[in-house]
């Protein structure tokens, strides 16, 4: 008897395979000519998928109590606040022309 549900080796192996394939995909995309911010967009999207796989299966989040989910959720909320508020500033700076004296 173990303290947590025992996940099969097969599941871990499949997750590893998916992670390696996604790594090849993300490197492969860097050879396609894309303009603007598309490289970073695809890179981060694949990164989020890979990180979710690691957290859910390797870090056993899927079988963890709600307290662990809450901590992860709060960490992500804080990260979102940090990014959203800061980038909301930098992304909108050029929208309003600089007019000294007004």
């Amino acid at each position: 008897m173990s303290l947590e549900p025992v996940v099969s080796v097969r599941t871990y192996a499949l997750v590893l395979l998916a992670l390696i394939l996604l790594t090849f995909l993300t490197v492969g995309i860097s050879f396609i000519h894309l303009s603007g911010g598309w490289h970073i967009t695809f890179g981060l999207l694949i990164g989020v998928v890979k990180a979710s796989l690691v957290a859910l299966f390797f870090m056993h989040l899927l079988h963890s109590p709600r307290l662990s989910w809450l901590i992860v959720f709060l960490a992500l909320v804080w990260l979102l606040l940090l990014f959203a508020l800061t980038l909301a500033d930098y992304f909108t700076r050029e929208l309003i022309p600089f007019m000294p004296g007004h």
């Binding site: 303290l3 997750v15 390797f58 662990s68 990014f83």
Partner: protein
């Protein structure tokens, strides 16, 4: 008394040993081993939440400057050794698999396998650092170290950058590259030391299916360091379009 004259039957002896083991491992502030286990892993999750903020701030700064200076950051990103960066991603993913197998072995009570999988994990961690070292040496030869080995002239010219200010932005990207990979490398190094300590305990049969919280907590940390690298790969190495294949 059992039929063969001993005080306890095999089953009774087994149950007694089991309860002694449980009492030995259970600290008095906890109700049961399960509660103790999830208190321990939750504490590691809280620590990782602080790490999310620590790395998050640096990633945010990188994102802001990538937004401000897209051309320079893409040009600088193309000069990094993406083959080593990509290979190291695979190395860390494999090590995540081996450490989760160590946890799996602990859940099944196979002490020797815990130690063996942790040894492979530490070896993969070392391999990551060796590749990183080779990469740093190549960066040194390629003049990619601002303040020490850097030649502004090679970044200027037609089809390249136009002025010294833009070269300054290239330096900024490279400083992000060095700071982020060094901090991440430090995390890997600390992880290797922790893996070796837990490996020594596992070899002395310290863990069992009712008590393996340190193995699980260590694995959580190791996976987190892997996740940081998963994001470092696109944010540092894959910003622009790669046109050539090789070093």
């Amino acid at each position: 008394m059992s039929s063969d004259g001993k005080l306890l039957t095999a089953d009774e002896r087994h149950m007694l040993e089991h309860s002694i083991l449980v009492r030995h491992r259970l600290e008095e502030q906890f109700e049961n081993l399960e509660q103790q286990h999830f208190t321990g892993t939750s504490a590691m999750w809280v620590f990782l939440a602080t790490e999310v903020m620590f790395f998050g701030a640096i990633f945010l700064a990188l994102a802001v400057y990538r937004y401000k200076y897209p051309l320079e950051f893409e040009k600088a990103s193309e000069r990094l050794e993406w083959i080593i960066g990509g290979t190291n991603t695979i190395v860390l993913l494999l090590s995540s698999f081996t450490i989760v197998m160590a946890v799996h072995s602990a859940q099944l009570g196979e002490s020797k396998k815990i130690a063996r999988f942790l040894a492979i994990t530490a070896a993969l961690g070392f391999l990551f650092l060796i590749f990183k070292g080779i990469e740093y040496y190549l960066d040194y030869r390629e003049n990619l170290i601002p303040g020490w080995r850097f030649d502004p002239g090679e970044w200027l010219g037609p089809d390249k950058l136009q002025n010294a200010q833009q070269v300054g932005h290239v330096k900024l990207f490279l400083i992000f590259y060095w700071v982020m990979t060094l901090i991440h490398g430090l995390h890997v190094l600390i992880g290797i030391v922790a893996v070796l300590i837990i490996m020594a305990l596992a070899a002395r049969k310290h863990f069992s299916p009712v008590y393996y919280t340190p193995v699980e907590a260590l694995a959580l940390y190791w996976h987190f360091v892997d996740i940081v690298w998963i994001f470092l790969l696109p944010m540092l190495y894959l910003l622009g379009t790669h046109t050539h294949f090789g070093f």
